[in-house]
């Protein structure tokens, strides 16, 4: 488990990170969400040791990380870039060896990833000759080529076309499923919602919420239900403990004050006609985010 504890970072008088603590669990994808300038990139840079913190620690499986331990991390920085004139495969092999892999293992890994990401025919082309989408895939490959034991990815999906997003989602899920902790930040809340098991929300350098996505959703859920029947649903307005949010003939969206009121509605609905759909509405990540950050 990757443990981030009490990180502090100041630039001059500006407090960029204030007592930032959260965990990234193995075999789980942790989404790191926050507005621009909230402190995501700074936190990730400190985790990787690229930037020094003014206070706090980053530890993996209980031991505080030094340069040696961090070499087993896979990192995709927000500022993308590889050597433009170096060939794709050669570059991946170089990066893998910088992370401590032998030349043979590095080459095998690079070949495997290049194939997996659909770049097989581009292996011997310089990065600058690749299309933007392929450069993004190459960047992902650079983060994965040394078989990292922890993955930290800053905005891995920004600038990717939908096809590439699917490929990358696939590769990252595979890595997480194999048992490593994966931390990634994103602006695209829909992807985060679909992909992550855990969620960390940061605003103004402070962690607002950290925990499993399911628990978080439960916590922010209200007793809001959707009802679709074969008959008119106007009677809902007169049900006790019910507040109708939206109404459209046979469809209604309503908030209930308690479980009993909900059951009463369902009972009433079945007695009046066929119930086509009756489901609890969960708030979207975007809604939770808005609520938490305010």
């Amino acid at each position: 488990m990757l443990e981030i504890r009490n990180l502090d970072k100041r630039y001059g008088t500006r407090q960029v990170l204030d007592d930032v603590s959260f965990d990234v669990h193995p075999a789980r994808m942790t989404g790191f969400v926050g507005g621009n300038g909230a402190g995501k990139t700074t936190t990730m840079r400190i985790i990787l040791g690229v930037l020094g913190a003014d206070g706090g620690t980053v530890s993996l499986d209980g031991s505080v990380l030094g340069p040696e331990g961090r070499r087993r991390f896979g990192y995709m920085p927000e500022e993308r870039g590889l050597y433009p004139k170096m060939k794709l495969q050669e570059q991946l092999v170089y990066l893998a060896r910088l992370h401590g892999l032998s030349s043979a293992t590095a080459t095998a890994n690079a070949r495997g990833l290049i194939e997996r990401l659909g770049l097989g025919e581009r292996a011997d082309e310089p990065i600058e000759k690749l299309s933007l989408g392929n450069q993004q895939r190459a960047q992902i490959a650079a983060a994965l080529v040394h078989d990292p034991e922890v993955l930290v990815l800053d905005e891995p999906f920004s600038g990717l076309d939908p096809m590439a997003v699917e490929t990358v989602v696939g590769v990252l899920s595979e890595r997480a499923a194999s048992g490593i902790p994966v931390l990634f930040s994103s602006h695209q809340l829909d992807i985060v919602e679909r992909l992550c098991d855990d969620l960390v929300i940061i605003a103004d350098g402070r962690i607002r919420v950290a925990g499993s996505r399911v628990a978080l959703r439960e916590q922010h859920s209200t007793l809001r239900y959707e009802l679709l029947t074969s008959a008119d649903t106007a009677w809902l307005r007169d049900q006790p403990g019910i507040d109708v949010v939206e109404f459209d003939g046979d469809y209604a969206l309503f908030d209930a004050t308690d479980e009993a009121a909900v059951q009463a509605v369902l009972h009433e609905a079945t007695s009046r006609g066929a119930v086509l759909s009756f489901a609890r509405q969960h708030p979207s990540l975007a809604q939770i985010f808005k609520e938490v950050v305010q």
Binding site: R72, E79, G81, L82, K85, Y94, H99, S102, D147, E174
Partner: protein, 368 residues
């Protein structure tokens, strides 16, 4: 899918030494594949070879002056002259005009030496010297190096050091800026500590510089030997060895400064702004030694100043004006300065590397 996170067990004890060498290796192979580098090295080698061959041809052509004479007895006891017998003055003048001979010597009753020299447009000074009566000359210090040769040696050491510094200094600065400009630096730093990256780049560039200089030196020695001009090499042995030692330390010093100042900018276009002071540090002492090499005091001082010592100290050794301990002391000063400036360079590099965008100010770069 061939890669699983537990499939490979990399050696985590991988030393920083091995990593620095890996960085150096990339630096070298990238440079060796660059066409512009290969072409400029080729041109440099051709220039050296051309110079040697040119020197050998001029030397071969300068043996005997061809002189037309109406009476071969006139030049009977003069060495270094090839007499061409002609019948009369008119034929002698014709040969001079055609360039067949360099000059003509004819008898002349009115001349105090009984001879007259006829030439086309310039007085043939060599021939005139041969024909002149000169008083005996006694040299009090016959072993001293003539001024012209001293200048040549100063110039030789100077040009080699200067060329290497001005070729490879900006090269390393450029390579550092490129890593910032392309943003690859953040990935590198996530894998390798800053000072390892710095060390690797300095080693790589220095090896390239030494390699190129060694190639040029080998070319020069082989060329001079093959063309029979190896007498020029005599007396240069010890100074050249010292030059190499000074060169290695001095170059590492300059490479570190170029790398550090390169890290302060994020775009190649801005590189000049921060590397210029380093360029000045290379050029000023170079010109001082070249132009003031006949001033013993200046050369003596310059032979202790770290930036000019690699040129000035070997020159003094060649001239025989330095005691045995002087190069050792000077090398010590250079080495200490190098260590101190590398430490400063690493700090500037560390402070500047992740600051993208505007140029990093000197104060920010040096701050702890």
């Amino acid at each position: 899918m061939t890669t699983t996170p537990t499939a490979s067990k990399p050696d985590l004890r991988t030393g920083s030494g091995r990593l620095a060498l890996l960085v150096a290796e990339r630096e070298i192979t990238t440079r060796l594949r660059s066409k512009s580098f290969l072409i400029s090295t080729g041109i440099l080698l051709l220039l050296v070879l051309g110079g040697i061959i040119f020197g050998s041809i001029t030397a071969a052509n300068s043996d005997d002056t061809r002189v037309a004479v109406t009476d071969s007895a006139l030049l009977a006891d003069v060495d270094g002259v090839e007499a061409v017998a002609v019948d009369d003055l008119a034929e002698a003048e014709a040969l001079v005009r055609d360039g067949e001979v360099d000059a003509a010597v004819v008898a002349d009753e009115s001349s105090p030496v009984g001879l007259r020299v006829i030439a086309d447009s310039n007085p043939p000074l060599g021939l005139i010297n041969l024909l002149s009566v000169t008083p005996p000359v006694e040299l009090l210090d016959p072993d001293a190096i003539p001024g012209g040769l001293a200048y040549l040696v100063a110039f030789g050491f100077g040009i080699v050091f200067f060329t290497a510094a001005m070729t490879f200094g900006p090269t390393i600065a450029q390579s550092v800026v490129e890593e910032k400009q392309t943003r690859v630096v953040e990935i590198l730093l996530a894998a390798v500590p800053t000072r390892v990256l710095f060390t690797g780049k300095v080693i790589g560039t220095s090896v390239l510089a030494f390699g190129q200089i060694a190639l040029i030196a080998a070319m020069a020695i082989i060329g001079l030997t093959v063309t029979g001009q190896d007498d020029l090499l005599v007396g240069l042995g010890a100074p050249v060895v010292w030059f190499v030692v000074f060169f290695i330390v001095g170059f590492v010093l300059l490479a570190s400064l170029f790398a550090a100042t390169g890290a302060m900018v994020s775009r190649l276009e801005d590189m000049g702004a921060t590397t210029t002071p380093v360029t000045m540090l290379v050029m000023l002492p170079y010109f001082l030694v070249i132009f003031l090499n006949d001033n013993p005091l200046v050369v003596a001082i310059m032979s202790y100043v770290p930036f000019s010592a690699p040129v000035a100290m070997p020159l003094r050794l060649f001239l025989g004006t330095a005691e045995w301990w002087e190069p050792v002391l000077s090398l010590g000063i250079l080495a200490v300065t190098t260590v101190a400036l590398i430490a400063l360079g690493v700090r500037i590099y560390e402070n500047s590397l992740l600051r993208l965008g505007a140029r990093v100010s000197w104060r920010e770069a040096i701050a702890r």
